[in-house]
């Protein structure tokens, strides 16, 4: 993605948040229409002229004028946001009222309020994430569907359910509300899922996945930039995304092929992101509360600061996984812990840890479960057994990238066993 390759999406998200506040959440569809029209006209004009320097201000003015038209047209037919009703009563105050809503200071929090609104406790996490992608990243139904390998119809359903719930709220989430803290937890979770989908997800297109990570990072930076949401847990989440994100360029080679950590080219890691990550990691330590994000950021930091796989403090990583298993146990966490144990104490101990995973049936269909067994069998010198497990894993591959990666591993076992 080029640097400004997301200009339309950024602006769409920004305008939608502000217009939704201006119109009131119950008029979400009207806000979406105004954004759509504003961007359509910009598109027609910029084809010829190129993108003007002050595009953001121009779009704001254009959207404001369209909003004004919409108010004039609809003011008798609709209920608008309470704070606007008094302006709407007279044409004379309408424009100044609208101007006040679009002042830079008022604009600043709109995206954040939209983010909190999308993470409504009545909505399932899947719906929250889809809604965040649609409202704050301005991704279309098909774009979200292909990122999650879900049918467009299913995404459509999630979005309409989400928008219905949103529209029932009286206004965008108030950042000073009493339930701010629990809502922030939900926001963290949604952004974490968004990032994970990009980082580990099954979507076959590397581009989409990098985009998801980048969007999650942008949104977590919004959280960090606001006093009330910049909690230690937010910093931990930001640290985790930066430290993992820094390793994204090394994770796949030029052909988009996944590389195991051992073979990653560490010189390709993004050092600016690493620095940002370690900054957030420091800030995350300021509180009492230890969240799963703290622990995962800690693990990512261990990987990021090691010069090589051999030079990694695997003992410390095992300890962190033990903590993570206490805070948020899951078979995938247990599997990662087993791999760390293998690095620390040898493949036999790793295999033993895999055999002891609780709820292992939940890993059925997860290709990296048999692949993990295969890696360790290979390492303890049993390439034939390893090959069998790699083949098992290959059959479970969820996309072309995983399939190619696992096929390669199968072949490598063949080579080892015949030599």
């Amino acid at each position: 993605m080029k640097p400004d390759g997301a200009l339309f999406r950024r602006e769409a998200a920004r305008l939608l948040a502000t217009l939704t506040r201006a119109f009131g959440v119950e008029n979400l569809a009207l806000a979406e229409d105004v954004v759509q029209e504003t961007l359509a006209v910009a598109f027609e004009a910029w084809i010829y002229q190129g993108v003007p320097e002050h595009y953001s201000a121009l779009l704001t003015t254009a959207a404001k004028n369209r909003a004004l038209d919409a108010f004039r047209r609809e003011r008798t037919a609709r209920r608008f946001a309470p704070e606007l009703r008094r302006f709407i009563e007279s044409e004379w105050t309408l424009r100044s009222g609208l101007d006040a809503l679009f002042l830079p200071d008022a604009l600043k929090d709109d995206e954040l309020r939209m983010m909190f609104s999308c993470c409504h406790p009545r909505l399932h996490e899947d719906v929250q994430v889809a809604l965040v992608l649609h409202m704050l990243c301005a991704l279309g139904v098909d774009e979200i569907a292909s990122a999650f390998l879900v049918s467009p119809a299913a995404i459509e359903k999630r979005l309409s359910r989400g928008k219905r719930t949103l529209a029932q709220s009286k206004r965008l989430f108030d950042l000073t509300a009493e339930d701010f803290a629990p809502r922030l937890t939900a926001v963290h979770r949604a952004l974490y899922l968004l990032f994970s989908e990009g980082y580990h997800g099954a979507s076959s297109e590397a581009v989409i996945r990098v985009d998801l990570c980048r969007e999650a990072l942008r949104l977590v930076r919004l959280l960090v930039g606001h006093d009330s949401s910049a909690t230690p847990a937010t910093h931990a989440l930001a640290a985790l995304m930066c430290l993992h994100g820094a390793r994204l360029p090394g994770r796949a080679d030029e052909a988009g092929q996944l590389r195991p950590l051992v073979e990653q080219d560490r010189s390709r890691w993004d050092t600016t992101l690493l620095t940002e990550g370690f900054f957030h990691l420091d800030r995350s330590a300021e509180g009492e509360l230890l969240t799963e994000y703290h622990v995962e950021a800690g693990i990512a930091a261990q990987h990021a600061s090691a010069g090589s796989v051999k030079g990694t403090s695997w003992g410390e990583i095992v300890r962190l996984y033990d903590v993570l298993m206490k805070i948020r146990p899951s078979p995938v966490v247990a599997l990662n812990r087993a791999m760390a144990i293998a690095e620390f104490e040898g493949p036999e101990r790793g295999l033993a840890a895999i055999a002891m995973i609780d709820g292992v049936q939940r890993l059925a269909g997860y290709p990296f479960h048999p692949a993990a067994v295969a890696e360790l069998e290979l390492r303890r010198g049993r390439p034939l057994v390893a090959k069998k497990y790699f083949e098992l894993a290959k059959d479970l591959a969820r996309n072309e990238g995983e399939r190619r990666f696992l096929e390669q591993r199968v072949k490598e076992c063949g080579r080892t066993s015949s030599s």
């Binding site: 390759g5 339309f8 961007l39 084809i47 010829y48 002229q49 190129g50 301005a138």
Partner: protein
């Protein structure tokens, strides 16, 4: 060199912001290329696809928009230079408008 007008016709713009972005970048690359090769006389202008009137006679017979179908609406124009109609057509064939179900009408500017 002769002058030609390109009349662009297509249905509405691409739907999602990212599609708009991708399409716009393609147009810009295309225009830049035409310009670099000395074929672009005027970038031209967009025309409002949603409004317009056709004035049919001086008696005041007026109709909304000249076309029955949205894909027939002229959404913009440019002016290019080319040796002849064949070359102007060949240049038009590389226009990104075809990705969006649109078309380009190539009309030579008549000179004495």
């Amino acid at each position: 060199m002769n002058e030609f007008v390109y009349l662009y016709r297509r249905p509405g713009p691409p739907v999602t912001p990212q599609q708009k972005q991708d399409a716009m970048e393609k147009y810009q690359t295309w225009f830049k290329d035409l310009e670099a090769r000395g074929h672009l006389l005027q970038y031209g202008q967009p025309l409002d696809p949603k409004a317009g009137r056709v004035v049919r006679d001086k008696g005041g017979s007026i109709s909304d928009g000249p076309y029955a179908e949205t894909k027939d609406i002229v959404v913009g124009f440019s002016i290019v230079k080319a040796e002849n109609l064949d070359e102007a057509v060949a240049l038009a064939k590389t226009c990104p408008i075809f990705d969006q179900g649109g078309m380009v009408e190539v009309r030579p500017v008549l000179k004495m």
